[in-house]
Amino acid sequence: MDVFDIFLLEAVLNGLLLGGLLALLSLGLNLIFGVIDVVWICYAELIMCGMYAVYYLHVQYHWPLYAAMPAAILIVAVLGMILHQFVIKPVLAAEPINQLLVTGGVLFFLQAAATLAFGIDFKNLGVSLPAVRIGEMSFSAARLIAFGAAAAGVIGLFVFLNKTYLGTAIRAISQDRAIMPLMGVSPARVYTLTSALGGALAGLGACLLVLQYDVHPAIGLSFGPITFLICVLGGLGSMAGGLIAAFVFAQFISVGGFFFAIEWGYVIAFAFFIAMMFIRPQGLFRR
C-alpha cells in the first residue's frame, strides 16, 4: 500500500473510534427524548460541566482519575435530575416551543456561567497517553480507550433497558404513560430516573472527551450540533438509529477532515445531512 492509502485507512479507523464516542453522546439525548419527549438542547453543555468536573477534581484537588471520573459522572447525573426537576417539569405541560426555549436558555446560561467561573482559556487534563502504532498508522490511546468505554456504555445501557425492571419501565412509559400507575410505577419517578441516566451518559461522555480534548466554555459547540444532527438523522428518539447515524457522520468528519481542513469535515457532514433530509426526512428509524 502506498503512503496515501494507509493514512486514508487511518482516517477511516479514526472515524470508527470517533463514531463510537458520538454514538454514546447521541444515546443520552435519544433516551431523554424517547422517554420524556423533551430535547435537552443544553446536552453538550452538561457534558462540558462533566469535563470541568474531571479537570478540577484531578488537577486542582489531585483526585486520581479512577475517582474523579465516577464522581464527575455522578455530578452530571445529579445535574440532569436538577435540570428535569426545576426547569423541564414546570414546562412539561406547556407547548413544545417553551420546552425548546427553556433548555436553550440553560445552554446560554451554562456557557456563560462557565466563562464567568472558569475563564475562557483552554484547560488540559495533563494526562498524556501514548500513541498506539499499528504498522504505519498511529492511534491515540485516549481514542481507543474512549471507544472501548463508549462501547461498554452502550452495551450497559442496552442490558439495563432490556433486562431490568427499571429499564423495562423506562421503555414502557414512552409507550403508555397513563397506565404506569396501574403497574405500581410513579411516572414522575421514572422521569427523574431517566434524567439521571441521561445525565450519567453525558458524564461518561465527558470523561472520555476530556482525555482527548481541552475543555473551555464553548466546547459544547464542537460536538453539540453534530450530536443533534446525528439524532435527527437516525430518527429523533431512536437509539438504534442514532448509533448508525453516529458512525456515518464520524466517517464524513474524519475522512472529510483528512482531505480538507477539519472544519470542512463538519461542513461536509452537514451538507450530507441536508441531502438526507430531502431523501428521508423523518430520519432512519421511528422512535
Binding site: 425492571y165 423495562t168 419501565a169 421503555r171 409507550q175 396501574l182 403497574m183 405500581g184
Partner: protein
Amino acid sequence: MLSLEGVSAAYGGFQALFGVSLEVRAGESVAVIGPNGAGKTTLLRLISKLIDPTGGKIQFDDQLLNRVPPHAVVSRGIAHVPENRRLFPRLTIEENLRMGAFTSRKTFDAKRDLVFGLFPRLKERRGQLAGTLSGGEQQMCAIGRALMSGPKLLLLDEPSAGLAPVVVQSIFELVRKICSEGYTVLIVEQNIRQVLKVVERAYLLEAGKIVLSGRAQELLNSKDIQKAYLGL
C-alpha cells in the same frame, strides 16, 4: 373488602358520578352494568385512583383510599385491567407480565407460570410483541398482567369490548374460571346477558347513579332489565 360510600366524581365541569355506593365482599364476583356513558369506567378509575373522588369515601380492606396516590394502589392489592386492554405494544408478552409484577418481583416466576397455566396461548407466544397480538390474546395478556401482582381485588373494565363474538365467549369463560378460583372480581360490562351469567351480584349504573342492585339471577329475570337492555 371494597366499599364505596356516596362517591362522586367529575371531569372538568362535567359530573360523572353522583353519590354512588356499592360494596364487594371477599371472594365475591360483582358486576356493574349499564349503558354507554353511564360512568362505569369512571368508577373503576376512581377505585384504582387514576382519578380522585370529589366526594364520598372509598375503603379497601378497612383502609381509606381517598388520599392514596395511584401508583400505591397495586401494592395494596388492587389490580386494574383497563378499558381497551392498554398493553405496552412494543414490549413482549413476557415483558408486559414483568411490568405487572413490578411491585411483586419475588414471586414473578411462580405467578408467570400460573398465568401461563391459565393462558397456554400466551406461553406459546411469550416473545411476541404485544401490539401484534389478536384482540382476544391481548385481553388474555392484559388480565394475566394484572394477575402478576397477586391481587386481592381484580378490576376488569369491559373485557369483551371490541372482540368478535366467538372470542367474547371464551373471555367470559375465562372470567368465570377466575371467579371460581377464588379471586375477588369487580367487572364492568356492557354485555349484560353474558356477564350476569358469570357473576354473583350486580349493580345497574345509569347516568352516574346506581338504580338497581341484587343477585345476578334476579337482575337477569327482572322485567325492567329485560325490556330496557335485553330487547325482550
